[in-house]
């Protein structure tokens, strides 16, 4: 049975995106993975876009006009939200990795998610 479990499996990857039949731990796991992949993709996109700064004010400020587009703004807010969710969920993982709050992981998860939502709302208010 273990041999089957240890085979390379793309199905495991796609299962992170399945919303059905999940409990808090499973949501925490999926949230961590999805935000990690999204943020890694954005990191390299961001580094590429910042090269416009080396080209001078015309190139960079012209690009900034695009960021006023509501869809781009929404994307930007999604990045901020993903970073906050990933960061605070990550703090929970670190705490439990070192034995802190291991028996109260669900409460820790909900607590950190509540803080995340509040911080995301503060950034949303500033951006809009």
């Amino acid at each position: 049975m273990n041999n089957t479990r240890n085979q390379p499996s793309a199905r495991k990857f796609w299962s992170w995106f399945m919303p059905v039949g999940r409990q808090a731990g499973s949501w925490a796991f999926a949230l961590n993975r999805i935000t990690a992949i999204g943020l890694t993709f954005y990191l390299f996109l961001h580094l590429g876009v910042l090269s416009l700064l080396a080209q001078g004010p015309g190139a960079y400020d012209d690009f900034l006009v695009l960021t006023e587009n509501p869809f781009i703004k929404l994307g930007e807010l999604a990045v901020v939200a993903a970073a906050i969710l990933h960061g605070l969920n990550g703090i929970r993982i670190i705490l439990t990795s070192f034995g802190v709050g291991v028996t109260r992981q669900k409460q820790l998860f909900y607590g950190f998610m509540l803080i995340s939502v509040l911080v995301i709302l503060i950034f949303t208010a500033r951006m809009y």
């Binding site: 390379p8 499973s26 993975r33 080396a54 400020d61 900034l64 960021t67 960061g87 669900k106 951006m127």
Partner: protein
Amino acid sequence: MSQSTLSSSASGPRPGENTWIWLIKIATGPLLVIVLLLHFIANHYFGSMSSGLMTYEDVIKYFQNPIIPAIEILFLITVVTHSLIGLRGIILDMNPSRNTLKIVTWLLTILGVSSVVYGIWLALTIASKGS
């Protein structure tokens, strides 16, 4: 199972993940939460754009303080290291063969080193524009 689940026991490195690499990921995490929050505040609260974003002029002015390029470079190294170790961990969860993992590790290392070199060049170029 992964360290991200809400199991009743403490978690650690995945099978196939070196403890030191896991520790680097764990140590860079909290540092990133702090630096990233400062990065968001600087870029979304104090810029001249109505959304709070920094214009070209704002960025050049911001980078004239020598501590800023230093912090940005440290941030870059930390975020690239954390994200690529994390990405490798996700790939590890799919149980790749030893050879595949070796290739993945090399590709991620090349990507990480070239991103950091490029980022340092960019930070120094931006800082030099104001002088």
